[in-house]
C-alpha cells in the first residue's frame, strides 16, 4: 500500500510540472503537425501519417526517460530520498513507486498522440488497440532508462544526458528517415540498439503485421528487462550503502 502512496506522490510531482506537460504532451503533437504539413508540400511520400505517428509516439517516450530520471535524481539531490530511506518503505515499494506512475503518463501520451494523428488522417481501428498495448510495453524501455539515469546521476546530470539520449533516440531509431537510405554499418549499429526495434514494432502493430511484430517486441522487452534489472541492482546497492 505504501508503494501506491509513493506512486501517487510521484505522479503528482510530474503532472504538476508545466514544463513536463508542454514537452511530454505538446511536443509530439507539434512534431506530428509540422511533419504532416511538410509531407503535404513534398513530391514523394516520406512522412505519411501511418509511418510518422508510431515513430513520433516512440520518440515522445524519450520524455518518460527525462521525467523518471529527473524525478529520481531530484529526490536524491534534495535528500527527499534519504527521508524515504529512513521510512519503513522496502526495496519493492521504491521500484513500484517510481515505475508505476509512469505507465498512466505513457498511456496519456499515446492517447493524445493518437487523437492528434486521427485528425491528420490516421485511421483508428482494431489494430490501433493492439498498437496501444504494444506502445505501452515499449514505454517500459524508456522508463527503465530514466530510472537507471536517475539512480546513477543527479537531476542536473540527467538533464545533460537526456540531451544526448533524445538525439540517440531520434537518429538511431529510423523515426525521421528510413535507415535503408544510409545502410551499412550505421544501419547495423541501429539494429543492435533497441530504438529502431521499438519503432518497427509500433509500425507493425499499426499495420496489423503481427508476424513481424513479435521479433522486434522481443528485442525491446529484453532490453527493458536488462536495463530495469541494472537500475534495480544499482538502486538496491545505493540503498544499502
Amino acid at each position: 500500500m505504501s508503494s501506491l502512496h509513493l506512486a501517487s506522490r510521484n505522479q503528482k510531482e510530474i503532472l504538476r510540472d508545466p514544463i513536463s506537460l508542454v514537452f511530454g504532451f505538446g511536443l509530439p503533437i507539434v512534431l506530428l503537425l509540422l511533419f504532416s504539413i511538410m509531407q503535404q508540400n513534398m513530391p514523394y511520400e516520406l512522412f505519411q501519417i501511418e509511418q510518422l505517428a508510431p515513430g513520433i509516439i516512440v520518440f515522445g517516450f524519450s520524455f518518460l526517460t527525462l521525467f523518471s530520471g529527473m524525478l529520481l535524481g531530484k529526490d536524491r539531490g534534495s535528500s527527499f530520498l534519504m527521508r524515504l530511506f529512513a521510512s519503513p518503505l522496502g526495496a519493492k515499494d521504491y521500484i513500484i513507486g517510481y515505475f508505476l506512475p509512469m505507465l498512466p503518463i505513457a498511456l496519456l501520451q499515446i492517447v493524445i498522440c493518437l487523437i492528434a494523428a486521427s485528425f491528420l488522417g490516421l485511421s483508428i481501428n482494431a489494430n490501433s488497440i493492439v498498437a496501444l498495448l504494444v506502445l505501452l510495453i515499449i514505454s517500459v524501455l524508456f522508463i527503465s532508462f530514466g530510472l537507471l539515469f536517475g539512480t546513477l546521476f543527479t537531476d542536473k546530470q540527467v538533464g545533460g544526458i537526456f540531451a544526448l539520449f533524445v538525439n540517440l533516440t531520434a537518429f538511431l531509431s529510423g523515426v525521421w528517415f528510413s535507415l535503408d537510405l544510409i545502410g551499412g554499418a550505421y544501419k547495423a549499429i541501429c539494429y543492435l540498439l533497441p530504438f529502431v526495434h521499438a519503432v518497427d514494432a509500433a509500425k507493425a502493430a499499426f499495420e496489423g503485421k503481427y508476424q513481424s511484430l513479435g521479433g522486434s517486441l522481443l528485442i525491446v522487452t529484453s532490453y527493458s528487462v536488462v536495463i530495469m534489472g541494472i537500475a534495480i541492482t544499482v538502486f538496491r546497492k545505493r540503498m544499502s550503502s
Binding site: R9, S79, S87
Partner: protein
C-alpha cells in the same frame, strides 16, 4: 533508552566514527556537536538505520535496531540537513504523504496533518505548494513531516541551517514545545541552538565522542565560561595532540 555501544564506521581507510559509546534517555533532547567531518551525520545515519555500522551496535529499549530494521524505522523519523520536501505537493499533501508511508490510513493522516499544521504554524499555507514556501517555512514543514508519525525518536540534522533570526527563533519555540514528548537528537553548528534547546550535549571530533554532559557540566569540567569556549578547547586540544 537508546544505547550506542562501540559504534564504528569506516569508508575504506577513513574512519568516520570511532568506537562511539553513548546512552540517551527516553524523552531527552540530545545535541550532537562537532566540526565539519566530525562524524555527526554518519552517526545520525547509522542511528536512523540509513547506514550499517562497521562495528558496534545501537539498541532501543534493549533491542538492536539492526535485528529488525523495518520495525525500528516505524518508531523513528528524521529531518535531513537539506529541506527534504516534495516540491510540487502542497503543505498538507506533504504531511499526509509522510503519514501514509508510515502506514497511517487516510483519515488518520488527514487529522494528523491538521494537527501538525497548527503546531508548526502552517495552517494558512495548507494548500501552498512546498516549492513556493520561504526557506524558513520549508524547514518547518520538513520538521513537521518528521514529527507527523509521532516517532519515539526523531533526528534533526542541522534544522536551523540557513534560517534568518526570526525563523530560527520561531523554530526554537516549536522545538521547545516538543521537549519531553519524544527523544530528540539534534546535530548543529549553532551553539546557541544547543544552549537553548538541549538537555545534554555530546561533542564529536575526528569520529570520537570527546565530551559529554549538560552545558553547565561541560563548562564546569573544562573551566570555561561558554559552550563555545568548551567546544573550541575540546576540538583544538585534539587537533594538536592527536
Amino acid at each position: 533508552m537508546i544505547e550506542i555501544k562501540e559504534l564504528g564506521k569506516s569508508f575504506g581507510e577513513r574512519v568516520a566514527v570511532d568506537c562511539l559509546s553513548l546512552k540517551i534517555r527516553e524523552g531527552e533532547f540530545f545535541a550532537l556537536l562537532g566540526s565539519n567531518g566530525a562524524g555527526k551525520t554518519t552517526t545520525i545515519k547509522m542511528m536512523s538505520g540509513l547506514q550499517t555500522p562497521t562495528s558496534g551496535d545501537i539498541k532501543i529499549s534493549g533491542e538492536s535496531i539492526f535485528s529488525n530494521l523495518q520495525e525500528a524505522k516505524q518508531m523513528m523519523n528524521l529531518s535531513p540537513q537539506e529541506t527534504a520536501v516534495a516540491p510540487n505537493l502542497s503543505v498538507k499533501e506533504n504531511l499526509e504523504f509522510t503519514a501514509k508511508i508510515y502506514g497511517r490510513d487516510k483519515k488518520e493522516a488527514a487529522s494528523r496533518a491538521i494537527e501538525m499544521m497548527e503546531k508548526f504554524g502552517l495552517t494558512d499555507r495548507s494548500k501552498t505548494k512546498a516549492k513556493t514556501l520561504s526557506g524558513g517555512l520549508q524547514r518547518r514543514l520538513s520538521i513537521a513531516m518528521a514529527m507527523i508519525t509521532k516517532p519515539r525518536i526523531v533526528f534533526l540534522d542541522e534544522p536551523t541551517l540557513g534560517l534568518d533570526v526570526r525563523a530560527r527563533r520561531d523554530l526554537w519555540n516549536i522545538l521547545l514545545g516538543l521537549k519531553g514528548k519524544m527523544t530528540i537528537i539534534l546535530t548543529t553548528h549553532y551553539l546557541e541552538d544547543v544552549e537553548t534547546l538541549a538537555d545534554r550535549v555530546g561533542i564529536m571530533h575526528n569520529g570520537k565522542l570527546c565530551a559529554l554532559g549538560t552545558t553547565n557540566e561541560l563548562k564546569e569540567e573544562y573551566q570555561k565560561h561558554s559552550l563555545e569556549e568548551v567546544f573550541l578547547y575540546v576540538t583544538e586540544d585534539l587537533e594538536v595532540f592527536v
